[in-house]
Subunit: 154 residues, 2 copies
């Protein structure tokens, strides 16, 4: 219902929000977000088409947010992948219903509007600044094992 | 976000709830719900596997609900197609997060739980009994044009 692709896109956007001034290469982003690289590359293309991120190819290339993190909502990201659309007229095009939804479509419409309202009110900046013991949304640095040998390196 | 397949499944279930004692053949159900017949056939198979409906093949065959409409919730139908699962542990399996979700996954989890709560509380019986000017969720009978000729048929 909240698709895997939407969740991957949100992971990527949050990681880019955490490094707003740098171009993050796709392999680094894949590693940090734990999204399969080929899958992530397609997600990033869609996000770029939606003008939420911008990329530069070649050496030193990568992606960064197109605008500040406080100007991109969760809804912007969700809509780029899988648009949340309120139901305004009968999907069966039953003429007698007119603009009045039946019980089923009214319930579905309410659910969609509730999701829109929730996601609209949360920016990427909100997500990365929230006081939370699990602050990082993605692993920001690889885990490094440090072996201390007995010999003195100096 | 609320997938087309979920919406089609709900249409079909509501139509079956409107005729609880009869076996409705797939072509009739396709016509009433305006769902492409081949697509609907696959949706019905999934609903049957989830034991929400039961079918009989052959002449006079079709589908009917497996249990009364007041014992089948919208959530049962949604879950049969595309399960709504709360997020209980970090999807990135970041060990340091433990059972504590980060800001992103907490928001997504809240949205999923809200949908679960909404859909759990509405049965098919609620949908078909709701006082609503647009009562039928699907066209329950074909539109018939009656031409009255000048001659007296009696």
């Amino acid at each position: 219902m909240l698709s895997q692709t939407v969740e991957y896109a949100l992971r990527a956007m949050v990681c880019l929000a955490q490094a707003p001034d740098a171009l993050t290469p796709t392999p680094a982003l894949a590693s940090k977000t734990k999204v399969p690289p080929n899958y992530l590359a397609k997600v990033l293309q869609v996000l770029a088409q939606a003008e939420l991120i911008q990329g530069r190819r070649g050496v030193g290339g990568g992606y960064k947010l197109s605008r500040p993190a406080d100007e991109i909502s969760m809804l912007d990201v969700v809509n780029a992948i899988d648009r949340l659309s309120p139901i305004t007229t009968c999907p069966l095009e039953i003429a007698e219903h007119g603009g009045s939804l039946c019980s089923l479509h009214r319930r579905l419409d309410e659910a969609v509007r509730m999701l829109i309202e929730r996601f609209e009110g949360v920016s990427l900046a909100d997500l990365i600044s929230e006081a939370n013991p699990s602050a990082p949304l993605c692993e920001s640095r690889p885990t490094v094992s440090i072996r201390v040998s007995g010999s003195n390196p100096s």
